[in-house]
């Protein structure tokens, strides 16, 4: 496994995590996208070291799987898996963007809102800390 690629995977996951923890929806979406790139790259790495180019080898001779023994070929399965995962991530990123746009239309802001429970707790704290005469 190439060290450079392994480091790239680590950086992608780190950046993705950082972006996911932001309050702005667009950054969250970028975080998801970057992180799924990391996962797909990891899937590529799982196939082992790089092999010969598919149809034509390094020496220029035409190759057919099976004929040349197939020893120098890269494992194709993780590439198929990554392709599937990329398509799914692509579809979902566009769905997320549509939702973020809808949220912006409804709220005029790009921030993640507090959930119901958070708001309830915030309200009760305000009530408790308000000065006596204001109640």
């Amino acid at each position: 496994m190439s060290l450079t690629l392994a480091l790239v995977v680590a950086v992608l996951f780190a950046v993705g995590t950082y972006l996911l923890l932001q309050r702005t929806l667009t950054r969250v979406i970028f975080g998801i996208a970057v992180m799924s790139h990391g996962a797909n790259l990891l899937l590529q790495l799982a196939g082992g070291r790089a092999g010969d180019p598919p149809v034509v080898g390094d020496d220029g001779a035409a190759r057919i799987v099976g004929q040349s023994g197939g020893a120098g070929f890269v494992d194709p399965l993780p590439q198929a898996l990554a392709l599937t995962a990329i398509v799914i991530a692509f579809g979902l990123t566009s769905y997320l963007l549509a939702m973020a746009y809808r949220s912006w239309v409804l709220n005029d802001s790009d921030e993640v809102e507090d959930d119901v429970e958070d708001r309830r707790i915030a309200r009760s704290r305000e009530r408790d800390t308000a000065p006596e005469e204001a109640r």
Binding site: F13, I32, L42, L43, L45, G48, L92, M99, V116
Partner: protein, 508 residues
């Protein structure tokens, strides 16, 4: 080549395409959905009968033999889950026909999405391939993203965003887990993984096992990964919340049990980590439920605490523990879905789910009171209802293995469950009748609630089913035991996929 395993996945997908083609005709859409859901229910019955007779039914898709092709497999556990999920899908569909307004049902394409969801659920239960499990999960989740934001109201977008992001995060981790597992073993076929993961060094095996535990833990909603659940479920329309509550988290539990028993067996020793998680999940879930003041939110927190019981059964890693878990899942899916459907009926008829504004529902609609009592008692585990049988089995096995702590927690949680159910009962069903909703007075001047016959009929059918589960407890429990035996032995599963030669390794 056994085509019967392909149909529960292929049929709903084809029907989804068909409903889009006939989107002008409302009756055609409804007819296609109903016929498809009924057909896969019948298929699921046949699959269960075949799986119970043979131990497991296998199809190698495209005729490619096991480790190279894609394997579909229904062992007893998978077939039970498939049957119970198809029953839920049919009943909730009928309920939805009565509840959803025209805009949500037709303009926003409820039918195609619903059918895709059912295809995804079936595929999750039938797949024998780790990466295909990811794809099945995604098919199911994408459909659920659309359903949970159906109508795109303000609250739905807010909670839907949390739901989508947290599930995407879990899915990304799932892809990473698949990549690491493939790098370590060179396969994604679950039966082959069962053989190869056993050869890995201890530390790596633990790391992979816990990574999958986290991934499926997010989907199942176990402690401390459940925070998205009680917030996002209640905002969707009632039938959708009911289906999500009954099915989706249980798909997570199913995969958790499947992967942990097949790929990371504990050789009969209980897993302390899983038991501790189970105890905390039960306790935190039920305490959350007690603090809530809205029917749907109380019920949503209960999903979390109930998941704890199933994980408890898994954590014991014995035949009896897993049998109890299987029975518990079946009981829970039926009871939880029916409670949400009843909550939906109350909400639709009165216009609110807030306990403060409700009252006297038991007088205004006695049948709802009866249905709620049956389901609530069953959830809390009062004899003679189905929850009692499930909890009794868990507690017995827990005591046999001398895990008194978790047994004590589970009993306390049962009491608290009953307490929070009386909260709904006292707030919504008793008290002076609120004069909201449709005004049709009876002889005593009480305003009767008008209930939609489709919604009421399907709810009654579901509560009836939960009674059947408790009446037929003996044969059902024996079936769960047989299912648990295949889970513990592992050999029938591996033999069915890879052939007898490979399976002998496990036997030795």
């Amino acid at each position: 080549m056994d085509l019967i395993l392909v149909l529960p996945i292929a049929l709903p997908l084809a029907a989804a395409a068909l409903t889009l083609l006939v989107r002008g005709s409302r009756w055609a859409q409804r007819a296609i959905s109903l016929v498809t859901c009924t057909t896969i229910l019948v298929l699921a019955i046949f699959i269960l009968l075949a799986a119970d007779a043979q131990g497991a039914v296998v199809t190698q898709v495209g005729g490619w033999s096991a480790p190279f092709g894609i394997t579909l497999i229904a062992d007893r556990f998978g077939a039970i889950m498939l049957l119970i999920s198809t029953i839920m899908i049919l009943i909730v569909l009928i309920y939805a026909l009565g509840q959803l307004d025209d805009e949500r049902e037709f303009l926003l394409h409820f039918h195609p999405v619903y059918l895709v969801l059912s295809a995804g659920v079936s595929a999750s239960f039938l797949t024998g391939d780790l990466f295909n499990l990811f794809v099945a999960f995604e098919v199911m989740l994408i459909a659920s993203y659309v359903l949970i934001t159906l109508g795109a109201g303000k609250g739905q977008i807010r909670s839907g965003m949390t739901y989508v992001v947290i599930n995407l995060l879990a899915s990304t981790m799932f892809v990473a887990a698949v990549a690491l597992i493939y790098a370590a073993t060179g396969t994604v076929n679950m039966a082959q993984l069962a053989l190869r993961i056993a050869e890995l060094p201890e530390g790596l095996r633990l790391a992979l096992g816990y990574l999958l535990l986290v991934v499926f833990g997010v989907k199942a909603g176990i402690f401390p990964l459940f925070f998205w659940l009680p917030d996002s479920y209640p905002t969707a329309p009632a039938p959708i919340t009911a289906l999500f509550a009954g099915l989706l988290t249980k798909v997570g539990v199913y995969t958790l049990i499947r992967t942990q028993t097949l790929m990371f067996p504990h050789d009969g020793a209980p897993s302390i980590v899983i038991l501790v998680i189970a105890g905390l999940t039960m306790l935190v879930g039920v305490l959350g439920a007690i603090a809530q003041n809205d029917i749907k939110r109380i019920l949503s927190f209960h999903i979390v605490s109930q998941i704890g019981y199933m994980i408890f059964g898994l954590g014991l890693f014995t035949l009896a523990g897993l049998a109890a878990a299987v029975y518990y899942i079946v009981h829970h899916i039926v009871v939880k879905t029916s409670l949400f459907l009843i909550g939906g009926l109350v909400e639709t008829a009165t216009g609110t789910g807030a306990l403060r504004r409700l009252g006297g529902v038991a007088r205004r609609a006695p049948v709802l009171g009866l249905l709620f009592l049956t389901a609530a008692f069953s959830l809390a585990g009062l004899p003679p209802f189905s929850g009692f049988v499930a909890k009794l089995a868990l507690v017995q096995e827990g005591l046999n293995l001398r895990h008194g702590g978790i047994v004590a927690v589970s009993l306390v949680v049962s009491l608290l469950t009953l307490f929070s159910m009386t909260k709904i009962w006292g707030g919504a069903f008793w008290g002076p009748p609120e004069q909201s909703g449709d005004r049709v007075r009876d002889d005593h001047g009480v305003v009767k609630l008008r209930l939609n016959p489709l919604m009421l009929g399907s709810t009654i059918a579901l509560v009836g089913l939960s009674v059947v589960i408790s009446v037929a407890a003996a044969p059902l429990y024996q079936l769960s035991e047989r299912a648990a035996r295949t889970l513990v032995e592992r050999e029938p599963y591996i033999e069915a996929v890879l052939g007898p030669a490979e399976a002998e390794v496990v036997q030795q």
